[in-house]
Symmetry: C2
Subunit: 425 residues, 2 copies
């Protein structure tokens, strides 16, 4: 029986045209983060499961990981996110690494989820982390990196919004102001995180189950949508002052689409302070595109001195959806500059000029199928090649070749240097 | 208890300095294969286990795969090699894809092996495949690609050797000439494949167990090291004629280190004709670096019309060992062009010039730690940064900045455009 050609469910094959689109996204990511001085790292896709037990969300660890036992009896996991890995790596060389560290990576991540728009089982995610800066300059920089990436993709600031909140503020509110105990506070955080997935009445009901007679206080404060609406007591809190300061710093750098969002939680347990998420403003793609935040405690879990850390992750699936929604994905033509069609039995004799064209920087394919010329031309057109170079005995004798542009059908007789200058121009 | 910082056994963390070396290898690979018109593809690291049952070697499938059941009950495997995947992808679009196809990928592959020099559990492998060319032009091109990669790395042809054999010739010899039956022939192929790992006497003994009274004939013919030593009967075989022809074609293209090796088998069951392996000539690293061959039957296993195919795989671990052995790994400096040290409280005011330097193409990090200047300088030096730019109130007022080259200690007062031209020069 024939073997199936199916791709594993929820994952993607990248044919060359797909890979060109993904490479375009990767290229913009790399160029932007490198312009901010970030350096690339990487790590194995397999990690021990313990790495995720402490701080990755329970839903991910218990229901969504690809976990198994290896042939040596170790319980391992395909990484569902990169943050625990990068924290592990920094912790392993805590003493040697010069701070601040600016690191990025574009790992593939695996989660066992129901595949749907914007969410697949395998995706690639740009991870950008800044270690060793405790001041708001770090938040400013990380959000500026995000904004610069969007700008480099050609996105206007009215096509997306940067929602910002503070885990410290949430703690201040829930514990000091509403006076919930730790368990109640954690339940409230989880509930508010799912707020948009729940009917309004049900949400109210669930809040009252957690907060009892403090339900109205809680509902009132979480209906606020401007920092200035917080009480004057809360305005004195460090967390609120920092949010004001950060929004001012961002505005000063021309980032006008950042707003305070008191309901923004982010699912991961490791965030300690400022968190943010980017939302598409187009109602057809109205979801969180990606986000990040400060997680000062994670490196310390490995038994070393903690490091102030902030970072974000940005996935290729949601990024591509955003670019398509806003018509920002440029057409990615094949990278092949030229295909050679040999006329007659000149394979050996044609090698020198072919090699020379490659050394001069051209990407040169050759049709070695020995099919009829018109069939070779048809296939070249289907492959998306722009130029064909015909090489036969006469051409080799005269060092002049027939160069055909497939889109126009135009042909010209040119020498090697002319070929190079026509194509690289 | 603190979480362990250990990397999964047999796999590697890539700190930025490690990643720069790997990226150098990837860059040379990409540039070379793209100059031959190859286009990049990719696919999920998870494949159904069935994909490997037909043609991957039994040792790999039974003892070395990372196989497990996913949460939906599917038996899956982390790919141990890319060839079945690329064959699957081509088969899935057999009718639409224009031939010839030139595809490459740099996937990470997983095998559960005892980690040792040149062999880890995870490695990245350049996979290069040419589909749709049945003539020796394909073999010539694929081996020319290999040779061009080595040349681009700076390797002389005397530092490695390209060993070439033909599975068809082996069949001609074992079945038609020595007259072994199919089982005996398969056992003999596997034995010869392991020849270098076995003592000479033991090898003789094992051969006699397979070949009986044909032992001497078999030992004699497999001691041949030149095509011309084959009998005149065999010289008439197509397989031998093609080997002569291929060696001539390679020599004509300046590839002088290709030799016939009758003992070369390659482990994989899918090879059908010419096979080749590249060996380091340095006795300290004397092992197969990588190899490939023709596997015309694999795409057809998916129930579509077969396609003539030839390809090779080249791993990053063995490649790096080779480069280090021959002193060919260039030092990979950090990609960061410049670090800014802020003097005083000028964060907001300094943003414009920093942003402008980035837009002009510089990779600019900023030390936001607010440590003392000499501590910031010390860390910058440790990070390997070459230039420091000091920005304070006076500098901003005059649009002139102090640029310090760390290696020489030399400082100069320059404006923005001068900074760019000094660093990008």
């Amino acid at each position: 029986m024939a073997i199936s050609t199916s791709t594993y469910k929820g994952a993607r094959d990248f044919y060359p045209s797909d890979k060109r689109e993904q490479n375009y996204i990767f290229k913009v990511w790399r160029e932007t983060v490198e312009s901010f001085g970030y350096e690339e790292y990487d790590a194995p896709i397999i990690e021990p499961i313990e790495l995720y037990l402490a701080k990755t969300s329970e839903e991910i660890v218990n229901e969504q990981t690809y976990s198994f036992q290896d042939r040596g009896g170790r319980q391992v996991t395909l990484r569902p996110e990169m943050t625990p890995t990068v924290s592990r790596m920094v912790a392993a060389r805590r003493q040697e690494l010069p701070l601040p560290l600016r690191w990025y990576s574009i790992p593939n991540l695996w989660r066992y989820e129901r595949p749907q728009k914007g969410r697949l089982r395998e995706h690639w995610q740009l991870n950008v982390d800044l270690f060793g800066v405790s001041g708001l300059e770090a938040e400013h920089e990380i959000i500026e990196v995000v904004s610069s990436i969007m700008q480099r993709f050609g996105a206007n600031q009215d096509t997306y919004i940067i929602r910002i909140n503070s885990r410290k503020l949430i703690n201040d509110i829930l514990r000091d102001y509403i006076k919930l105990d730790e368990n109640q506070a954690n339940s409230a955080i989880r509930l508010i995180d799912r707020q948009n997935k729940i009917e309004k009445d049900e949400f109210k009901q669930l809040v009252s189950e957690i907060a009892g007679d403090k339900t109205n206080d809680l509902l009132n404060i979480f209906s606020i949508n401007n920092l200035n609406q917080l009480s004057s007591d809360l305005q004195e809190h460090q967390s609120v002052k920092e949010l004001h300061q950060l929004l001012m710093m961002l505005a000063r750098s021309g980032i006008t689409n950042a707003v305070f969002d008191i309901g923004l939680m982010r699912g991961f347990d490791y965030y300690t302070d400022i968190v943010f998420e980017i939302f598409d403003t187009n109602p057809e793609n109205s979801r969180a595109l990606f986000g990040g935040g400060r997680y000062d405690g994670l490196v310390g879990l490995f038994g070393v001195e903690p490091i102030a850390t902030i970072g974000f992750g940005m996935g290729d699936v949601t990024m591509k959806d955003f670019l398509l929604t806003h018509n920002l994905m440029p057409e990615q033509a094949t990278g092949v500059d030229l295909e050679v069609i040999l006329i007659g039995d000149v394979f050996l004799e044609a090698q020198d000029v072919i090699k020379s064209l490659r050394l001069k920087g051209l990407k040169v394919a050759v049709d070695h199928t020995k099919r009829k010329i018109d069939k070779q031309l048809k296939m070249a057109d289907k492959a998306g090649y722009k130029y064909i170079l015909f090489i036969g005995e006469n051409e080799l004798a005269n060092n002049k070749y027939n160069l055909k542009e497939l889109s126009t059908g135009q042909e010209q007789v040119v020498d090697e240097d002319e070929i190079v200058s026509i194509i690289l121009k």
